[in-house]
Every structure is written in structure tokens, then in C-alpha cells.
Amino acid sequence: MIKHLRSAGDLDAATATLILDTAGEMAALAGREVKKLPTLRGRTVVNLFYEDSTRTRISFEAAAKRLSADVINFSAKGSSVSKGESLKDTALTLQAMGADAVVIRHSASGAPHRLSSWVDGSVINAGDGTHEHPTQALLDAYTMRSRLGRLAGLKVAIVGDVLHSRVARSNILLLTTLGAHVTLVGPPTLIPNDVAAALSPATKVSYDLDSVLPDMDVVMMLRVQTERMQDSYFPSAREYSRRYGLDLARMRRLPEHAIVMHPGPMNRGMEITPEVADSSRSTIVEQVANGVSARMAVLYLLLGGKA
């Protein structure tokens, strides 16, 4: 088993499949009355969050607690070089406390890589800058497999701000590893030129959402931050949602079986309309539930064996 989960690229197909299978068992356990398992008793998991993300932190916390790990929440929001303790000093503190795993969310890409050079325990990336968010990709893949029965051969459109999206990067890597075909859709300003060469040669790029939709099994809408407008990535929210937003008319272009995903939090009315978000094709609520199972699987597989 791997020691850290810093990038979805750390996972080969066998390991990724093992995580998804394990997540399936964890999900089955979630349905019963006693949800707690003794598996990680005596183990310490630190949630080191340099960015506000209540949903991700709660998801990891629930996952760790269901496995009986001791959870320490370390919120270092607002920390940077100028204020507060350095990441390295924090790492040495966590090391002294005997953290078996550190779940880190950080605004700087690569912070989990740096952290893993300073602590002995496992490092789990819960989102680093504009780099990756591998557990989100795992829960997304798990959700697709649950809904559609397979991943190999699935056609997945990832729509929106790929350039700044850690969710997109991790999904491209993981989905390709598991045999799905990814098409990136968005304005050219938000799709990096060399994304296929950088992440996965089979990745396709389209600037036209309407032409892509009829062929897709999954369409994953990315959150688009309105401050991108100030940086001239696109002219206005209205133009963005007209060209790349998913509304009912566009959703009807999808095949009957296709599902709509969103990592949350949504900008309703921007990249997705409320009717689409709340439709039966939307997996947005399932994704949240599956997040706990996927993270339990990761924690178990990283911490459940000999160190």
C-alpha cells in the first residue's frame, strides 16, 4: 500500500480499485445502526486546515471517527509566512504529538509534498491550492461506479475552470487510470493549452458544451469563481452561464442514463441551474455521503496496516 495520498497520480489502477471496493464495504457499514468500527483505535488523525472548508473537514472527521481514530482539528486559517507558525514548525509539532496521519488542506500547491518530508506519518491531501484534491476524485469515481456500474469506457465531461481546479486535475488523473475517457469543456482561457500532455494524453478538449453533451455518460460541473471575471478569463457571469452553464435545455441533450455531478459548493445560476442541481440525475447529495465512505477507505488502507 502507498504511504501518502498527495496526488491521484500516486494511485495505480489496482490500488484505486481497492480503495473504491473498500469504500463500498464502508458504505454498507454506514447503513447499519452501529456505525462505529474499532479499526483505528489508538491512532491519531490530525485535520490540518489552512483553508476554510467545513464540508471537507467534517467529512474527514466523520470518516476518522467512524474508524475510532482520535481526531485533532488544527485550524490554521490565515496562516502564511508573515503571520503565525511556519508549516515546518507546525509539522514538527504534529510529529512530536505522534500523528499517524495528517489530513492537510492548504492554499499553496504542493504543501502536502512539503509536509510529507517533515513528518513520519501518512499525509493525505485534502486539497492543495490549484493542484489536486485526490479524495474528491475517489468519491466522484465511486459515485459514478455506483450509479453507472462501471468506470472503464465511461465518457466524462469536466466543464468549467479546469485551469484553477484541483478537483479537475485529480479527476483527470484518476479517471484515466481507471479507463474512463475525459473531455474538458470550457472557455480556452480556463483550459490550459498543454493539459493533455501534462496530465493524460487521451484527454480531449472542447470549447463547445452543446456538441459534447449527447455523447456523455457523466457531466461534472466545476465551481467557477466570479473573481475570474476581474482577471478577464471571461467577460461576465451571464455570458459564462450562457455558454458553459448547465440548464434544463442542455441537460436534455444528455443521454437518458447520464448523470450530473458537482463537487460543491455550487454557484446556482452560474455553472448550474437549481432545476438541474435538484433533478434526479444530479448526484450532488450522494457525493457528500460517498465522501465519508471514500475517506474511510483511504484512512483504513493507509493506516490499517503495519506502519
Binding site: A108, G110, H131, L199
Partner: protein, 421 residues
């Protein structure tokens, strides 16, 4: 005064002969009064000259001082270094450049030639008192806002014109500021994969293109700092072919290292301009041999541990260079001694107007020289470096060549590979 006889030493790869140093100059013959150094297997070069060194004093003496940087330079075979202006306070007045110059003289290990800032506080809004710095004791000839680009085209034009009065030269850090906001590394496949904001090659190339046109227009001298892309080489090649008075430097690290190293997220590889691709490296090497790029300059940039032992985005850009530059150039160019002497000593001395440096080792020349052992190999240990900082990208790497001795005006600053003081 000291006298040395270096026996059986090869001058720039020529047949072994004896080299005599008397009272600061190369002498014709030994008279028995000399200390003898066995030069067998060693090559003597004119003392190296660095056009681009950050000595950090005043302001960041925790990272480097004029003295520690001078020692690092001497150990690297240098007899003169040009100290960049981005100190704290900025070297934008006669007072600050004179302070640096005086500290260099006190250290006495290399000639420290201060570079003056182009604009007040490196802010890019108002010209600094360039003339006052030029006529100060430091006799500044090179002006640079290095670390920042003189982005305003009108201000750049004025600076280029103004320094003609005292044969000055503007050394531009070519980085279009709007195209590099928040930039962390070379924009390309690797930055896309790593999720680090890209520093596009065009941001450098666009400024160089603009500046060579400005220099051509006003008939001034322009020097381009740390050229890093194949496209920049093309712009320079065309400008030189037209007769524009432009010179350019490349750093040792841009001749060797690529952006793939950022995959570790270890900020020891974070530098500005960033490490580029293998094809850029190939183009830079070719341009250096060809003379499109005139000199190798270190951009020696010491940083305190806390500025590198952190997240990539929070780290300061820059890497050490003085103590490894010769070895990197030797590994890149091979034992082409004339070429090395030209790119690391003669041409930078000429650009900087340092008349006592970069001269041939003929009888009567100033004895500024360095003695190197090309067959030696060494493993770089950051803990053994003379620099106060440790941010070398070559930690643990085996490099060819070793500086055995360095002489500044006939006085040894390094003997047997160790600093004399």
C-alpha cells in the same frame, strides 16, 4: 609584497610553463624570492568576473554579507563581482553604493563593484540619482532594478538615454509584470500538472524585444540579465545581427536544470526567471558558445533557511551560484578554456568596465587569476559552502573541477582550495 612562482601550469590549456607573480603583476622571470606552487595538472584562467551577484548587505545579513559573499566568490575563482542593488535599503543613492563598495574593500577578497538601482526603491516610477552613483567613490556603471523589471517603456527609454552621459548601461530583468502576476514556475506541462501559476516565456521575450528596439532607437547600451528561453535567444540573435548594442547573460542553472525539478515542490529549485525546459537549455548552451549570449553570470541569490524551508508559493526565488558556477560551466562547455575565459572573465569585465580584470596573463598584467584543477571531482555539501546560506540546487551532486587558488592583484585569496582569510 608577496611573490609566487606557479610551476608547470597550463595557461588556458596551453603547454605547461611557469607563471611568476611579483607585487601584484605577472612578472617575466623568477628570482628565487617566490613561494612556489606546484601547478602540474592545473589550468590558470584570468580571475572570473560575475556581473550578477546578490550580497544581501545591507538588510539581510542573516542570508549573506559582503564578506561571506566575497569569500564564496573567491572560492569560486572570482576576483570581481557586481553586487545587485536590491538590498535594504535599496542601493539607489550614492550613500548606499559607497557603503557596499567600502565593505567590499574591507573584506578584501574580491573587487566588489556595486550596481545601482535604475528607479527609486526599485519601484519603477522615478529614476534614481544615477549620475550621483556614477560619480561616487563606487563609480557605478551598471544600473539595474533586478528582481523587478523596468516595466514602463517610457521610463526604460529615459534610463537608457540618461546613462549615456557616463557610459552607463542598463541591465534589465526582463519580466513583463502583468503576464507574471503570481507566477511560480515556467508555464508549461509541468506547471499545469503541479497546479503552480505559470511564468510564460513570452513575458521575458516581449520585454527583451521591446528593450532592444528602445536601445536601438536611442543608440544606448542594453544588458539583458539571466536570459532563460529559446525565444529570447532568437530575439537577441536578430538584434545583434542588426548591430544593436545589446549584451546578455545566462546563469549556470539555466544551462543545466529544467522545470521538471519543481515536481518535488522543493523551493530550492524556485528561481526567477524560472527553470525552463530541456529545449530552452539546449538553445541557451548553443547561444553561449556562439556568442549570442555573451557571459555567464551567477545570479547568486542567498536566502535564509526559513525563506526556503516552506511552501513553494511562499518561498523566495533564487539559488546560490558563486561556489559552483565554474564547475557547471566546465561540465556544460567542457575544457574549452578560451571560451570559458571569455564568457566568465574577459567579456563580463569589459561590460562592467572593470579594467584590471579579465586581462590576458601577459607580463605586466594585473595578477587577477584563478588556478583550477579540471580533473578533480567534488560532491557538493551545502554545509561546507562559504556562503551564509545553504540554498544550492546541487546538494549531493558530484561536479567536475575544483578551484585550487585565486589571486587578487597578486595576493592569494584562496590557496589549496581554502580561503586565506
Amino acid at each position: 609584497m608577496t611573490r609566487f612562482l606557479i610551476r608547470n601550469v597550463s595557461v588556458l590549456g596551453g603547454a605547461p610553463s611557469d607563471l611568476v607573480l611579483h607585487d601584484g603583476f605577472v612578472a617575466a622571470a623568477a628570482d628565487g624570492s617566490e613561494d612556489v606552487i606546484d601547478g602540474s595538472g592545473l589550468v590558470v584562467l584570468p580571475g572570473l568576473v560575475d556581473l550578477h551577484t546578490h550580497l544581501r548587505e545591507p538588510g539581510r545579513e542573516d542570508a549573506e554579507t559582503v564578506e561571506t559573499g566575497s569569500r564564496a566568490a573567491a572560492l569560486g575563482g572570482y576576483t570581481a563581482v557586481c553586487a545587485m542593488a536590491n538590498t535594504s535599503p535599496v542601493a539607489d543613492t550614492a550613500g548606499v553604493v559607497e557603503q557596499v563598495w567600502r565593505l567590499g574593500r574591507e573584506a578584501g577578497l574580491v573587487d566588489v563593484q556595486p550596481i545601482g538601482a535604475v528607479t527609486v526603491g526599485l519601484a519603477g516610477r522615478q529614476l534614481a540619482e544615477l549620475g550621483a552613483m556614477a560619480t561616487s567613490a563606487a563609480t557605478v556603471r551598471i544600473f539595474s532594478d533586478d528582481g523587478f523589471c523596468v516595466g514602463d517603456p517610457r521610463l526604460m527609454r529615459r534610463a537608457l538615454e540618461y546613462v549615456k552621459a557616463f557610459d552607463g548601461i542598463i541591465a534589465q530583468h526582463a519580466e513583463e509584470p502583468r503576464l507574471t502576476e503570481g507566477a511560480q514556475m515556467h508555464e508549461g506541462e509541468v506547471s499545469t500538472r503541479l497546479g503552480l501559476t505559470g511564468w510564460p516565456a513570452v513575458a521575458e521575450e516581449a520585454i527583451i524585444a521591446r528593450d532592444v528596439l528602445l536601445a536601438e532607437h536611442v543608440g544606448s547600451r542594453l544588458h539583458v540579465c539571466h536570459v532563460s528561453t529559446a525565444g529570447s535567444v532568437e530575439v537577441l540573435r536578430q538584434a545583434k545581427a542588426r548591430g544593436v548594442r545589446v549584451t546578455a547573460e545566462v546563469t549556470p542553472h539555466h544551462l543545466l536544470l529544467t522545470d521538471e525539478l519543481a515536481a518535488s515542490y522543493d523551493p530550492v529549485y524556485k528561481v526567477n526567471p524560472p527553470l525552463r525546459t530541456a529545449s530552452d537549455v539546449a538553445a541557451l548552451r548553443e547561444a553561449l558558445v556562439e556568442g549570442v549570449i555573451d557571459v555567464v553570470a551567477t545570479d547568486h541569490a542567498p536566502h535564509a533557511v526559513e525563506d526556503k524551508e516552506c511552501e513553494w508559493a511562499y518561498a523566495r526565488p533564487g539559488m546560490l551560484g558563486l561556489e559552483t558556477a565554474f564547475s557547471i560551466v566546465l561540465s556544460v562547455l567542457g575544457e574549452r578554456w578560451e571560451l570559458i575565459a571569455d564568457r566568465m572573465s574577459r567579456t563580463p569585465a569589459r561590460i562592467a568596465g572593470l579594467t584590471g580584470h579579465g586581462t590576458d596573463l601577459a607580463v605586466g598584467s594585473p595578477a587577477n587569476l584563478t588556478l583550477v584543477d579540471p580533473s578533480a571531482r567534488r560532491v557538493v555539501d551545502p554545509g561546507e559552502l562559504a556562503s551564509r546560506s545553504r540554498n544550492t540546487p546541487y546538494s549531493g551532486t558530484t561536479l567536475p573541477g575544483r578551484i585550487v587558488a585565486t589571486f587578487l592583484r597578486g595576493e592569494p585569496t584562496v590557496l589549496d582550495g581554502k580561503a586565506v582569510k
